[in-house]
Symmetry: C2
Subunit: 207 residues, 2 copies
């Protein structure tokens, strides 16, 4: 059955992104350190339609797996605006529903990547993603606000954290604003890597 | 060679303890949820000179191991004051150096547990702990302020986090006040459990 999930990198002190984000620096501050475990993997650069990365190990398989399982994405407007200038064409390989007030025609890219601009709210964007995803999973891509909205509203079945051994000390703390009364989490998988700790949690939503 | 370490439980959102701590509620708020993985282990209750816990598995071995490796403890006064009313006699089974302005004779308990009250600062407490520990390790026990002081001052060789799948949303965030410029961390071991994720980090101190 199709699952709804998110998959994010966090610093050891809980930050998903640093300060001073902009299209020129979409993760802000020292946040790229959170994602170093990806940047050293060939799989990451393959998805960027580029070459790079000195490693191709289980961390790389995880990067491939998360793209392969995803049949549709939901994304916040800010993430789209800040990320898009640095994304290669056809990065997502599935429909991406962008929550925005901007009215805009779908942006069709190669490899089944199409950005749809949804003006009538999170429930509508989710319904469209679900219809597109088929048996594959729906990824709530980000940013933090977008994920927290879906998490607090009971849409998330599971999530994966990639906890990097770095401290940021400032920026956006992912779990601030998550309503702890609404669910409980259970660990369903932990994968050890020298560069990062991957932990997947199942969400039990308290209706 | 003797190592200096700390070993703490954290919530998924980074809290080491909740609000409203007191000797009647030494961890405050919902913080006991952080430590549920211990409370279900027989090993925990054995160390409390009590019976309890329905499990005795690898999580229990970790509880035994951390007591077995420790030759001396350093502890803040607040942790001593808040914890001591609920600790059984002879809990630590090694000398415990309590940082305090209070002048007080050593409190000798059974099983090699003696609390020494150190009035001349963290360096002195550490030197005394090191002299007592022999080839065993020195544990900076807590609370958060005490651990952060030793971490920021370059004393820590490694640390273990037990990251519980719970959110606290308020309380004491462990990594707030840790000076990220002073060291880097490397993951040296990750142990998966259904109840908690145990991750051990080596500290490289930038002198």
């Amino acid at each position: 059955m199709s699952k709804t999930f998110f998959d994010i990198g966090l610093s050891l002190d809980g930050f998903i992104a640093g300060e001073n984000r902009s299209p020129q620096n979409p993760m802000g501050g020292q946040a790229p350190a959170i994602h170093n475990w990806m940047f050293i993997q060939k799989a990451f650069w393959e998805h960027m339609n580029a070459t790079g990365g000195e490693k191709d190990d289980r961390d790389g398989d995880l990067i491939r797996d998360v793209f392969a399982r995803t049949g549709a994405y939901v994304m916040g407007k800010r993430m789209f605006d800040e990320g898009e200038p640095s994304w290669p064409e056809g990065l997502f390989k599935a429909p991406v529903y962008v929550l925005t007030h901007e009215k805009r025609q779908p942006w069709v890219q190669k490899d089944n990547t199409t950005f749809y601009f949804v003006n009538d709210g999170m429930e509508s964007a989710y319904a469209k993603a679900k219809a597109s995803a088929g048996n594959k999973d729906i990824r709530i891509q980000g940013g933090a606000d977008c994920i927290r909205q879906y998490l607090n509203a009971g849409y998330i079945d599971e999530f994966t954290l990639h906890i990097a051994p770095v401290l940021l000390s400032s920026g956006i703390r992912f779990f601030d604003g998550v309503d702890k009364t609404k669910f409980s989490f259970n660990i369903i998988n932990t994968i050890q890597s020298p560069a990062v700790t991957h932990i997947t949690y199942a969400v039990t939503n308290h209706k």
